[in-house]
Symmetry: C2
Subunit: 425 residues, 2 copies
């Protein structure tokens, strides 16, 4: 399959805007019917899609792409089936559009309310992950938004096949195929055009590494929702290591925080440990090392690790998101020092392990991160895990959305005012 | 009074960040006490403030600033008293911070909730209006935010005096004076530094003309909330002119929409009139012209104005925000043509005058503007008028806030997760 010539990004924007006008007035049943039709089409075209993906994978191998990226790029029958079932799951989620809130009648008789409406046109920029293509397209559709996708260049053939299938299903349901478009031209200039289409695109959502996010923030005139980038801290309070089972619980929870998916943005980066909890540290470090984690620590922590060999942490090992099997350890005098440290470096997900309610309350009050947790793994900062049913990204900025972004975060509101001829005095 | 040397913008950001950490944990009573103390200080220093303002006004006159801008810049005892009473009113508004929502307990026992918290540090850029300095500072404070202000250069002496008074009151209440800082250096490069302080500033709110908003969007790496810019349409449906009093009501409402404050962003720009309502047009135009409005119209409208002289509308008279005593008129076949026209040009506030519920419903459903109104003046799109008690700006973008922005729009949320040792499977 050859990658077709893409239209200009501005022309895509104009068509997306027109499609968005149709989408915003659709009822839930129409959108769900389209989603089920997309699932059917993905099943019907499974062989074509897998063939296109195999071509992408072959080209990526020839180009020498690292194995873990090839793995993320690869589809097979089972993965495609999982993606397709996710489309059906999205059809089952509640539709946020049309919800009304802040209903009031003013003294002058004006009836004022706010109605939840789609954002309009989204631009989503991500890496070579074909599952994200379908995921984002279906979440956008369910929330009544048109979307312009720009995936990693290594997945152009897969994305063309997937978006072609989605478009065919949309047209058959009587909806505009322009609701889901993809930029296949790998030239970064096309991405920059998308980032500057502020008269046509309502929001840019980058999903990728810190470099991509920075590029978007530096170049976009469309508002950007920055996400997924940030440091994860866990503070182990002395009170947590006093009960008989607590040392085990700490070992288990810290292992989960770091090891369960080290490449995730919500995996542990820095362990802060109260000086009174140092007795638990050897057990924690031994367990992490047994799971392949590179542990680096400050002098106070290393002094408490008699016998265990760990590297000396450099200043750069704090405030750093590792996205890998590495963790930094720092001993703190008390909660205040932990809070100061997190205030200087935090922002994504921060956890306290404590048996002391007052300490927990202070931690929750003072820490200003997308998610603050007490006695739970930071890996729960995730849309599906927190009960949102789906997730388009995890925002670590404060404007618009913070934390897991699901369907409601792809909407905005409009004010609706009904009167009988009122004028302003 | 001399304008003092300002510290670097980055240093102001660092201090604002530190102040924000204190502010975010304050209780409502502490914030209200500080607001009342600010009001007291403004009263105590009224003479100094008015003297500084008189110097600004004199310099502006010497520099040849137009009279309407000098009027906006000018304080007198009565205006300063109004500003001070507004500070006390803000103390009386409900505090949005600390509200919890989306409270849930998941199957695994995790207790998940979201808590409303301040945005953190705001950068607010505006014109030479000293009332905005106090207004924004107090709304920021009430919502637990630190703020860096950058007002028009013509008001530097007034702003220095006002912020000095606010700072003194904050310090006396035991709060950081750095909560409210002002950039006095008129060099545009200082503004650009503020726009790019994305590691320290959480949001930029520009209040001014389209040029200022564009400058912010083009130069900022901090997220910008764009507001106040956009076209206001009013569609007069044929059904509205059939009842005996309706013609009068239309004249009155359209007059209010255009004339009550022509410089406001929510004043009428374009009147769309159903071809079946043309009988009402001469009365409307006669009334507007009697109030000094420059009416321009398309050929179909002019043909219905036998006797009245109005200019021919050029293409540039549609989709244009006049901010002055000018209005463009266009005849449409039906609601569909009006909706298409608004979809191409709308975005701020759009009104339908109709007696037909089905037409009203279609208008409300299809029009995607910050505010959609039925049988009411667009001038009601305003925080105070819509019952929000105050307003920091009117957002015309879709991300984060849309329409009037009050205290709640100066907040974000954090997720709070409480467990008893849960790990992710």
């Amino acid at each position: 399959m050859t990658v077709e010539h893409t239209p200009t990004v501005r022309a895509m924007g104009v068509r997306a805007r027109a499609a968005a006008r149709t989408l915003r007035s659709l009822g839930t049943a129409e959108k769900n019917a389209a989603l089920h039709d997309i699932a059917r089409e993905l099943r019907a075209r499974a062989q074509d899609i897998l063939r296109a993906n195999a071509d992408d994978v072959e080209a990526a191998r020839t180009a020498g792409l690292p194995e873990h990226l090839i793995d993320r790029l690869t589809l097979n029958a089972e993965r495609l089936d999982g993606i397709t079932r996710d489309v059906e799951n999205v059809a089952g989620l509640p539709d946020p559009v049309g919800e009304t809130f802040d209903d009031r009648t003013l003294d002058n008789g004006l009836h004022v309310t706010r109605v939840r409406v789609p954002l309009g046109v989204l631009g989503v920029i991500y890496e070579a992950r074909p599952n994200v293509t379908v995921d984002v397209a279906t979440l956008a559709l369910k929330s009544g938004n048109a979307v312009i996708l720009r995936g990693g260049k290594e997945t152009a053939r897969s994305n063309a096949a997937l978006v072609d299938a989605i478009g065919a299903a949309l047209e058959r349901t009587g909806l505009p195929a322009d609701a889901v478009q993809v930029i296949l031209d790998p030239d970064r200039e096309r991405m920059r055009e998308l980032l500057r289409l502020d008269d046509l695109v309502d929001a840019i959502i980058p999903r990728g590494g810190a470099g991509l996010h920075r590029y978007c923030v530096e170049n976009a005139t469309v508002p950007v929702i920055v996400g997924g980038v940030g440091v994860v801290h866990l503070y182990l309070d002395a009170s947590f290591t006093r009960a008989p089972d607590d040392a085990d619980a700490a070992v288990r929870l810290i292992r989960n925080a770091k090891v369960q998916k080290p490449s995730a943005c919500n995996a542990l980066d820095t362990l802060l440990i109260h000086q009174g909890a140092l007795g638990a540290l050897p057990g924690i470090v031994r367990d992490l090392q047994a799971h392949g984690v590179d542990v680096v620590a400050d002098a106070a922590a290393r002094a408490a690790l008699d016998g265990l060999t760990v590297g000396a942490a450099t200043p750069g090992d704090y405030g750093t998101e590792f996205l890998a099997l590495k963790v930094s350890v720092k001993v703190v005098r008390d909660l205040d020092e932990a809070l100061d440290f997190i205030a200087a470096h935090g922002g994504h997900t921060d956890v306290i392990l404590t048996r002391d309610d007052a300490q927990a309350r202070r931690f929750v009050q003072d820490v200003d991160s997308a998610a603050v947790m007490v006695n739970a793994s930071p890996r729960f900062n995730d849309g599906a895990q927190l009960g949102l049913g789906a997730e388009v990204a995890i925002s670590t900025q404060k404007l618009h959305a913070r934390g897991p972004m699901a369907l409601a975060e792809l909407t905005t509101n409009k004010w609706v005012v009904r009167g009988d001829g009122q004028t302003r005095a």
